[in-house]
């Protein structure tokens, strides 16, 4: 299984949708709240070259936003 790292804010709905999608499909993920963790915020901006959440890092492949189709494809979820 690829490692999944997600950068979120507490108020972001698409982050919640992504988390629910991961839970439903048994995907383990590491979550970083960029509203309260400045180091994570810098890391997210460096990785994605942008300032929107969620940012989802799947085994080094970086996705901005939550596009269920793309994320499912990256994780081989049918």
């Amino acid at each position: 299984m690829k490692t999944v790292k997600m950068y979120t804010t507490p108020t972001c709905v698409y982050c919640k949708m992504a988390k629910e999608f991961f839970k439903k499909n048994g995907v383990e993920y590491e979550e970083h709240d960029v509203a309260n963790d400045e180091k994570a915020r810098e890391e997210m901006i460096q990785k994605s070259h942008q300032m929107g959440v969620p940012v989802i890092d799947i085994g080094g492949e970086v996705f901005v936003g939550f596009n269920q189709r793309e994320i499912a494809k990256a994780l081989d979820i049918k």
Binding site: T11, A35, M51, G52, Q68, R69, A72
Partner: protein
Amino acid sequence: MNYDYIILGGGPAGVAAAVYAARKQMKTLLITESFGGQSIVSADIQNWIGDAHISGLALAEKLENHVRSFPDMVDVKIGERAVSIQKTHCTDPKRPCDFEVTTASGETFAGKAIMLAIGARRRRLGIPGEDRLDGKGVAFCSTCDAPIFKGMPVAVVGGGNAGLEAVIDLLPYATKIYLLQYNETLKGDPSTQEKIKAHPNVEILFNAQTKEVLGDAMVSGLAYTDRKTNEEKKLDVKGVFVEIGSVPNSEIVKNIVDLDTYGQVVIDSKHGTTSQPGIFAAGDITDDPYKQNNISVGDAVKATLAAYGYLLNREKKSPATEQKTAS
């Protein structure tokens, strides 16, 4: 499978259409990226009838659950969107056309009637730098992204309710918030206006016409013209939140139904019919003047009852009897 009814969209209009179609035993397919519609990003909706307070996400869950309570009648394609609608079987002049819907992933679905409920998306400024710096300081979801601008000066464009709410979302984080309004007055709710005007970190700039979003890799400023003095001005900001209304998602039907000058689908407000027999529409994609969740629901119900009547008239029997004969 030739569906009786293909619904495009999973906001309040699409869901209301699905519920009424299911109860009329119309074999229905609903295609949507996600449920909930545009207010899914709202932290607290206070005008959804029946709920004094509900979050956009909770509303989306309720809507999805309602659609999924009719598994025998309504098939759901989620995470998917329609990219084209074609008329088919138009050979018999006495019988209206069928339709074929193609999705982004290349699947096609046949249907006898269509409900357009794909709503609207955020209007963009249309100025240099906006696209290039999208996500790099240019933001369209203050609820989502406000915390990222902690300790930074930002600009919010638009003095309607969405703009005022973006300012409220940013207050706990941004060091300075410029609110740019094209006209001389704010349009949003007076109670929210008062909250904003009283805050020392907020500066409201009236008669401001945005010119360019500045910055190399990330946003570093916003250029605008003071429409009163014609003076060109520049704000040093790291974020630009665009909150200037919406545009209808009507591109995929522009060759098949009549649109008004704003690109909205023209409907008959009694029946939700469009200029193309068999295609119905409701919600923010239409030329109905009030863009409201509750209105989208009611309009979709009207359109779906009209669609049921259309199918009865066309097939000379109800969709329910047709299924019985088929099985």
